[in-house]
Symmetry: C2
């Protein structure tokens, strides 16, 4: 099985130069956020990913998880690998120092999380979900709940879960049925939840479940959903663990990928009711859920980047070693990397991965700015940008991760289809990414609906303005033909969202019919924008190989990947008519 090595130069470049770390540090007034510290963080994180997490990736896939009489058993080695991660402080990087966090910018957590997900996505899901739970509690829980739970979760001593989905209520949370009945100072939770990632395990001695349920007097629909904290073990006043709560994993799913991540069916209240504590206000669970969800969506986009990079490293190594056929200009059979079609696949993987990373890290930077800028107005502006970028970062990065991990298999030829090679696992693992935390369709609807139609295109116009300003400032990094193509892409994005604004009133099917193509169009164009900026800003980098590679990768992206926007734009121009032409019962 091939090693995973984090692309440290690239990660440093994206944060320091492409996304202007000094500017960010100044804007959020965080003098710790230096390039030196970043570099130290990345170097240490790479060691753990490379030496501890990555070697368990394939064995975890093969072994999977096991539901026993005493609960879910994680794959061999996982508990120790998780412990090292928590002890190294990797769970607490950007959280509030009041609860033991390190107070670093959120942006610093991106490369660390990317490494964890690339090294071992099944294991990486456990802290990823905990992070979402921490954010929801930080934003909405009472001081009392925070005091009891936050420090243990931030230190990684306990893990967290998100319990939204029920068998009949996936995307449509309005349909959910789980109940919460008041019982003194707490509530009794009853109901079944599915698709609960790391819903049970033996890696820590407690698990903090956040569960959506309805109070007795709840209004129907999503406005009657409340959020509850339901610990696996109750916590005594002195912080020690008390009785086992009535919350059990009753099944684990047999899945296409992420075999070592237990996807649990959770049953609450089979024995009278699980004790839970209200988080935030009654019936305001959806708000708290979105707090968890927004962060989680970006992190899933980042998982796409992570698997893409891992698949690239694996395929590159194979392409450099596998001898097969005479390449053009050669005289004898050579490594397949010398074949232009193999190089095309590698460059496609590489350039899409770099573009997606730039977009995800940019979204993280905007999150930092939305929390810690000097003025409320600056925070609000950044929040708007975060809202617009999040569905693109999640939707587009995970869609291109499908293609990238598939190329990884393809470069291996027949060996790619054989599980022992390891390339297939990345593709199987990646397949969940466009589904969980809101499918690509949901991201696309979010982009065209809440993020474009709802503000009459203001956020989109702002993004396009910034792109055009960057074209003026950095366009010299491209040839004139490349520049014209990128300009055409930006114009297409503008025309597309203006069509959406102009025609959605008369055609209610239009937003849904063109939403996916809007998302992909926006992704490819944003990727081109960021790659252009990268090609311009990289020139001050001291590593001349890095400079040359970045410029070549940008050229490849603009010339060979960006033209895809035309297909999406063409589909958008056609509108909804032929999408809906065959009646539902005639298909």
């Amino acid at each position: 099985m091939s090693e995973y090595r984090a692309p440290l130069d690239e990660m440093n470049f994206v944060i320091e130069q492409l996304h202007d770390l000094p500017g960010l540090a100044a804007a959020i007034d965080n003098e710790d956020a230096s390039g030196e510290l970043l570099n130290a963080v990345l170097t240490e994180s790479d060691k753990l990913a490379n030496q501890v997490w990555s070697p368990l990736n394939w064995s975890g896939d093969q072994q999977g998880v096991q539901l026993t009489e005493t609960g879910v058993k994680a794959a061999d080695g996982f508990a120790d690998a998780y412990r090292q991660y928590a002890e190294g402080g990797w769970t607490s990087l950007y959280f509030d120092p009041q609860y033991g966090g390190q107070g670093l910018p959120f942006t610093f957590s991106m490369p660390v999380a990317e490494m964890a997900q690339a090294a071992n996505m099944s294991l990486g899901l456990c802290p990823l979900l905990t992070t979402g739970a921490i954010e929801a509690l930080s934003a909405h829980a009472s001081a009392q709940l925070k005091d009891i739970y936050l420090e243990k979760m931030i230190s990684g001593t306990w893990t967290g879960t998100m319990n939204l989905t029920e068998p009949h209520a996936g995307t449509d949370l309005a349909l959910l049925k789980s109940t919460a009945t008041p019982a003194g100072e707490h509530y009794l939770i009853k109901g079944q939840k599915i698709f609960i990632t790391w819903g049970d395990h033996d890696m820590t001695d407690n698990i903090v479940h956040l569960v959506l349920a309805r109070l007795p007097d709840a209004p129907q629909g999503v406005k009657g959903i409340s959020l509850f904290l339901v610990p696996k073990f109750l916590v005594n006043e002195d912080g020690s663990l008390g009785q086992r709560n009535d919350a059990y994993a009753i099944n684990v799913e047999h899945k296409m990928g992420i075999h070592a991540s237990p996807t649990c069916v959770m049953s609450y209240g089979d024995n009278g009711g699980a004790i839970g504590y209200l988080v935030g206000q009654p019936h305001q669970g959806l708000l708290a859920m979105f707090t968890m969800m927004n962060n989680a969506r970006l992190m899933v986009g980042l998982q796409g980047v992570a698997l893409a990079d891992r698949a690239y490293q694996h395929a590159l190594e194979y392409a450099q070693e596998r001898v097969q056929c005479v390449a053009p200009g050669g005289t004898e059979s050579g490594a397949i990397i010398h074949h232009p079609d193999v190089r095309r696949m590698l460059m496609t993987m590489r350039s899409l991965t770099e573009a997606a990373r730039a977009i995800c890290y940019l979204t993280a930077k905007q999150i930092d700015l939305s929390h810690d800028s000097a003025t409320a107005e600056q925070c609000a502006m950044a929040r708007k940008r975060v809202g617009l970028l999040t569905p693109i970062a999640k939707g587009w990065s995970t869609e291109v991760a499908q293609e990238i991990t598939s190329h990884g298999v393809q470069i291996h030829g027949g060996m790619g289809f054989v599980e022992e090679t390891g390339a297939a696992q990345y593709q199987r693992d990646a397949r969940i990414l466009p589904i969980y935390e809101g499918t690509t369709g949901i991201q696309a609807l979010d982009l065209v609906g809440r993020k474009t139609l709802s503000d009459a295109g203001a956020a989109m116009a702002g993004l396009i303005d910034e792109m055009r300003a960057d074209m003026s400032q950095h366009g010299q990094a491209l040839t004139s033909a490349q520049l014209a193509l990128l300009q055409e892409g930006i114009d297409a994005l503008e025309q597309a969202y203006q069509k959406l604004l102009a025609e959605s009133g008369d055609d209610p099917m239009l937003p849904g019919a063109i939403s996916y193509d809007m998302l992909m169009l926006a992704g490819y164009v944003c990727g081109g924008w960021q790659m252009m900026r990268a090609a311009a800003l990289v020139v001050s980098n001291e590593n001349q190989h890095f400079v040359a590679n970045k410029q070549a990768t940008t050229a490849y992206y603009i010339e060979h990947i960006l033209p895809r926007f035309k297909g999406h734009f063409g589909s958008i121009q056609a509108g909804s008519a032929s999408v809906m032409a065959i009646p539902a019962d005639m298909l």
Copy 2:
């Protein structure tokens, strides 16, 4: 698990109307080839696929195959399902009546094979490989070998395999090392072969291996490869089975998909040498191999169509039943099929499947014309068209099958990632299609090299001429905007191959660098051409629902799928420079 039902109306339409069955029957002078007979064949074939093969698809995936001390055991029920297939005469449809075949056009075997592959691709691979072996023996073996083996293989009593690949020699057969030593009237074969589909099993009492190996005096490279017939059990003069030959499966691969199809490591001659018989002339094995391969490539393209259709049926059923969220124009949560983005995915699946089917069946028709047209000139013309269409049918159909089966998972949401749903199996099974029988990269190189550069574009020019003639004749089936788009696609294909011809001399990297985009461009444009013809020719169909659906599906294809050609054309225009810009050792 959802049922599979063959799309009988569509299959009948494609062969009878779209590809003009009466015209074909007249051209090959086969008066049996009537629409009535076709319809009867399809109806019976559907029953077996639906009732016998399809129910074993998922159980076979879960159980897989087992290598025991006595050889490979097929999954439960497979031996009986195979026996019913053979006894029903489905293995012999188009073969020579002299050896028990039914003498029907090859075209008739396409829908039958599609049904078998859709119902159960793992099992369907067994007769698929046998067919290739029959073709190689029919074309190249001595009368004596034919008399002993062909009837048993055509009747399905024995199955056949193709043994090309060795661990170090996949695409590059020049590197193969297996040897054949003369020993009286036969040869002793020694060597190891990998990726041997159905290399061993317990469904029939003999297996006929076709094995590529080198004679002692063989020249180096591909010009020193000979083909041998190596039976699992030797055959006595009276046709009864004799001693066990020295040919054994020593391992079966653990794969991403087609779990119930044993992919064997075969070892020949571990105990002194496997007895083999020369097929064709010494050192001419590659020629015989291509005979097997060309048919097999088309059949793999057809497997793409088959899995695509099955995935569509599965997803459609789920979309009609799954209630989730309020669709535009609705007032309460409804079936997800009413959501435009779900409809987009279904229409994408449907229209790509229909386009790929039209291309694969057209290739089959040209194969019939290449064998049985009245004049040698007509046969040669058809052979040229077969040569051009085969890499498109194989490469494009299997590439779009990746997308289609992935949409099938996506429509199921989280349930799609859970194996019990069955949608994931189609995607996992489909993943082998762009790899085996020549990867997409090899198909693409074949298209730009042997099929375009080698004849200075004559075959491609002929295809484009025919498309333009059809535009004149049938263009009224499209709107003027649709017509303009298809015209633009055809022009792009013309410009692309002319660029290839003009610039490949100066740029040896160009053919490989643009080959994949050429293949995909050709596929999308051919799909548009065939869908346009379908929309025009369908009007004489009596089923008005079928007419309306075909026209709507064509409109969707032209408006929402065809624009993708622009992305591929853009990439072609950029040439090879940025593909190869980063040196191989600097990636």
